[in-house]
């Protein structure tokens, strides 16, 4: 079972999850075992919440005039201009922070890609067991609320696994791929909400990020990126139309945010540390690097007794490398042991490419501090939701406590480091 989708298929084959009737577009949704009558109740849930992650969007991109639906939703809700992604500014850790309310040092998920010391290989954190704490999805289910995940990227599908009551299963309708287009993802979202009406849905729309990564005009015209913005906005518009026409809007809170921002590098602005480490007598052959675009996670694999000297050597070499912005100990960024021995950030307009200078050819990257700012707003028709613009500093970690406040549930035993952005009283109207 190498890929997340293969593991998902195994869930169905072994009966851990049940494949429900496909939606109108042939989209497949599975239910957790034990959900024997997954049909919605006549009245539906009393409160609904949808978290839509518009992956990799820069906050100012909602002011370009190409996202009328998202911009109107933002301006009618409560907006947070200081919102930030948290280290490492990558997709998996920030989605996990949204659903756990804690930093990677507690959740166990510091980056997209890590060096797994037990396996002796660099891998994505795409396994259900990679999350070490109780997620919001489990909390809500325990409190009697049905939940759903509509995740467009294979590693997100994998890391959240079978936690939700309902899960979109992309693979029956798509070839095994890393990402499904938003036009398909939103159809899946609509099918899940129409047919099963979960009280909470966590959805990732990946087009803006994927087109940003690949946009060779990202450093100039951003032609493909802007087209993706307009298209994703239209898809979100379809979903909002459904909420309004179906009457769900009046009981809904919609949280829209990005997991990280995006930065474009130039072809000549590439940082590759592996070769420099290999040229050092102490480090040669004893360092592994997990390349996360704008951040390299460096792991000492030599003798524990040499670790301090090795980290000092790695740090010194990295600091002297053009394009490197900062070097951090993982603990200083609350990342935990999975993040290795050293985290290296690049400057804006640069990218890492390790282990070789051609390993990462894509121009759009994130993971470094330039990609911290994100759009983040709370909207919806549910009574008591605040509106306006807030000067508060907020992060992806605040999503779980905010959703929990909306449903009136408290923190899990492992606690939260984020905070609710709506008051429990206000959200109850």
């Amino acid at each position: 079972m190498n890929t997340p989708f293969e593991r998902g298929l195994a869930d169905l084959r072994t009966g851990r999850r049940t494949l429900l009737k496909a939606g109108a577009a042939g989209l497949a949704i599975s239910a957790a075992s034990g959900v024997l009558s997954p049909g919605r109740a006549a009245a539906g849930p009393a409160r609904r919440c949808y978290v839509l992650v518009i992956d990799g969007t820069r906050p100012e991109e909602l002011d370009l005039g190409v996202t009328p639906n998202l911009t109107a939703l933002r301006d009618g809700g409560l907006r947070f201009p200081r919102a930030q992604s948290l280290p490492v500014m990558e997709t998996i850790p920030n989605h996990v922070m949204m659903m756990t309310g804690v930093r990677p040092i507690i959740s166990g998920v510091p980056a997209n890609s890590i060096y797994d010391r037990a396996l002796g290989e660099v891998r994505d954190l795409d396994r259900e067991t990679d999350i070490r704490v109780t997620t919001l999805l489990e909390q809500l289910r325990a409190a009697g609320h049905s939940t759903g995940t509509v995740l467009s990227k294979d590693y997100l599908y994998g890391v959240f696994g079978g936690r939700a009551t309902y899960r979109w299963e992309p693979f029956p309708t798509l070839p095994v791929t890393e990402h499904s287009p938003d036009v398909v993802t939103v159809q899946a979202l609509l099918a899940m909400v129409r047919d099963h009406d979960p009280a909470f849905v966590f959805a990732n729309l990946g087009d803006i990020d994927r087109f940003g990564h690949a946009d060779l005009t990202g450093g100039s015209l951003r032609v493909n990126r802007n087209a993706a913005l307009a298209d994703t906005d239209a898809q979100v518009g379809l979903f909002l139309d459904h909420l309004r026409r179906s009457g769900k809007w009046a009981s809904s809170m919609v949280i829209v945010l990005a997991d990280h921002s995006m930065d474009w590098s130039h072809p000549d602005r590439v940082v590759s540390l592996a070769g420099r480490f290999a040229a050092d007598p102490l480090l040669a052959g004893r360092v592994q690097i997990a390349d996360n675009g704008g951040a390299d996670l460096c792991y000492w694999t030599g003798s524990p007794g040499d670790r301090a000297a090795a980290v000092a050597a790695m740090s010194s070499i990295a600091r002297a490398t053009p394009g490197v912005l900062e070097v951090h100990q993982p603990r200083d960024l609350s990342l935990g042991a999975n993040a290795g021995d050293l985290v290296v950030y690049c400057k804006a307009g640069w990218r890492f490419s390790d282990p070789t200078p051609v390993a990462n050819p894509i121009p759009g990257n994130h993971g470094h501090p330039a990609t911290k700012p994100i759009p983040f707003f709370v909207a919806g028709g549910a009574r008591g939701l605040p509106t306006g613009v807030s000067s508060a500093s907020v992060t992806t970690m605040d999503v779980a406590p905010t959703v929990a406040a909306f449903f009136g549930i408290g923190a899990p035993a492992t606690g939260w480091q984020g905070r609710a952005l709506i008051s429990r009283g206000a959200s109850q109207g």
Partner: protein, 516 residues
């Protein structure tokens, strides 16, 4: 005799403290700069009521000739976001009553902040109607003064218009060089009716530009300093001492007159943080003409220590609006083909166009591009948004985006923030130099500049006045108010233009009208 002749003032509001100031004249001989007069104790009171029915803080303060009989103290133990009244007493007299206001509490989320913004008040060039306009407002949290609070020139040296007409004459009647000179000049300005009213009405947050010492100052000298005026270090030390004595400001974080460092930071809850820069004390000498030296990394406008400190404060973790009180313009300004006939006049006001038409004012950040590049790269590297530079110095009104790269800005629009530049209170602008009516000869220059610099969205070379900066979590808006004739003490004040930047955009846009 009248013991409080120089008014009262307050400044540098913190959530729990504010500096209050006055000068006492205990005897007829104890005049500013005289070095004469006894050591005396002055009473002070702070109240939440203008009638002082509830005095919350009180005390006495000892002063004497050694500090030119100035009184300056840091009143602590105050409540945040609260209006207070203060006064000073000596013998049986009370000073006029001052009003001040503390900053919002740390972590609080003010819905709104509003500041007056001013610079460049040359007493000889006219009346301070702009200060009158600010003093008449009841809606300001503080007034930010971006420098050239006073001028060093002798009568006849720098007055109104091209003919240097002195609407009023400086005291002392010579260029300020000695400690006594600077003290007397401060005393003269403090006795201006409109400036005194402003100080009594609002706390001020000040920085200096060059004229608080002398024209085009740098770390080791100044354009307007020569060997006949004795050593530069001595002159600057005296000017700074008088400034510390006479201004309600904390130097090195203290009101005790033992501080040296003017650059500092003030926070206003989660809504804003104001970083006030000192761009004269540590800067390298200006280059005389445009040359590759403007980009020499060995040259600096801020100094290493201040630049690092500035960068530390420009962080996504700091309050929403990262305001920078910036004495000289940071927006890059290059020139297209400027009409030859106007080049000299434009250069006299702005210093932008040296002979030969090259494209720098080497006294602004354009003359120290390595520092600017480092600062802007920091802003991009750290993902810092909503940086607003508030600038004076150049006697004209500007609203600009700050391009990360001027060459790609017209296509990409990527910025490091925005800049709002206030007009001068009285100091000469372009129409004053060309001696032409407003909105005639300057319009062509403005259009040339805006065409050659696509990031410059608003430019008014003709007006004097003040600005009001209004902050909400959604946007920062600058309103420009202009005065009529500087020679008319009671000239009318009218709204001129408004520009805003929406949170997260890093771009300026025209606003429909003033906030109030």
């Amino acid at each position: 005799m009248k013991h409080f002749r120089h008014g009262v003032a307050s400044g540098d509001p913190l959530p729990d403290a504010v500096v209050i100031w006055t000068r006492v004249t205990p005897t007829r001989a104890a005049l500013p700069g005289s070095g004469k007069g006894p050591r005396v104790r002055v009473r002070w009171q702070v109240s939440t009521s203008p009638r002082f029915t509830r005095v919350v803080r009180r005390g006495t303060f000892a002063t004497g000739a050694g500090r030119d009989h100035t009184v300056k103290l840091d009143v602590t133990g105050l409540q945040p976001a609260t209006t207070y009244y203060y006064r000073f007493g000596y013998h049986r007299q009370w000073s006029r009553i001052g009003r001040t206001r503390t900053a919002p509490a740390p972590g609080s989320a003010p819905a709104n902040l509003r500041f007056g913004v001013v610079s460049c008040a040359n007493l000889q060039a006219g009346w301070f109607a702009a200060y009158r306009g600010l003093a008449a407002r009841n809606d300001l949290d503080a007034v930010i003064h971006l420098g050239d609070y006073l001028y060093e020139y002798a009568p006849g040296q720098y007055g109104m218009g091209n003919a240097d007409v002195d609407v009023r004459r400086h005291v002392p009647a010579r260029e300020t060089v000695t400690l006594a000179d600077y003290r007397r000049r401060h005393a003269q300005y403090k006795q201006d009716r409109d400036l005194a009213a402003l100080h009594a009405r609002h706390p001020v947050i000040v920085t200096w530009d060059d004229h608080e010492v002398t024209n085009d100052a740098w770390a080791g000298g100044a354009e307007n300093h020569d060997t006949g005026e004795r050593s530069w270090a001595r002159r600057r030390r005296h000017a700074h001492q008088a400034y510390d004595e006479w201004m309600p400001v904390r130097m090195s974080g203290t009101a005790r007159l033992d501080g040296k460092q003017l650059y500092r930071r003030l926070a206003f809850g989660e809504l804003a943080e104001l970083t006030m820069l000192d761009l004269r004390t540590y800067r390298s000498q200006q280059v005389a003409t445009p040359s590759p030296a403007v980009g020499d990394p060995g040259r600096t406008i801020a100094g290493r220590e201040q630049l690092d400190w500035l960068k530390d404060g420009l962080s996504p973790d700091r309050p929403l609006w990262r305001l920078v009180g910036n004495p000289v313009m940071i927006a890059p300004v290059t020139f297209g083909a400027l009409p030859q006939r106007l080049q000299a006049a434009v250069n006299q006001v702005t210093g932008i166009v040296p002979d030969g038409g090259a494209a720098y004012n080497t006294d602004q950040w354009d003359g120290y591009t390595a520092d600017r590049r480092e600062l802007f790269e920091h802003i991009a590297d750290q993902g810092v948004r909503d940086v607003v530079f508030l600038t004076g110095d150049i006697h004209s009104a500007w609203a600009c985006d700050l391009p990360l790269d001027p060459a790609t800005y017209p296509v990409m629009g990527t910025t490091a923030g925005v800049e709002f530049v206030c007009a001068s209170v009285t100091s000469n602008n372009l129409k004053d130099i060309t001696n032409t009516p407003p909105r005639t000869s300057s319009v062509a220059v403005e259009n040339v500049l805006k065409t050659a610099n696509r990031h410059v969205k608003h430019l008014d070379f003709d007006s004097h006045g003040f600005s009001v900066l209004d902050l909400t979590p959604a946007r920062a808006q600058m309103d420009w108010y202009v005065i009529g004739s500087r020679a008319d003490r009671d000239t009318a004040i009218t709204w001129s233009a408004s520009w805003a930047t929406d949170a997260g955009t890093g771009r300026v846009r025209r606003a429909k009208g003033p906030v109030a």
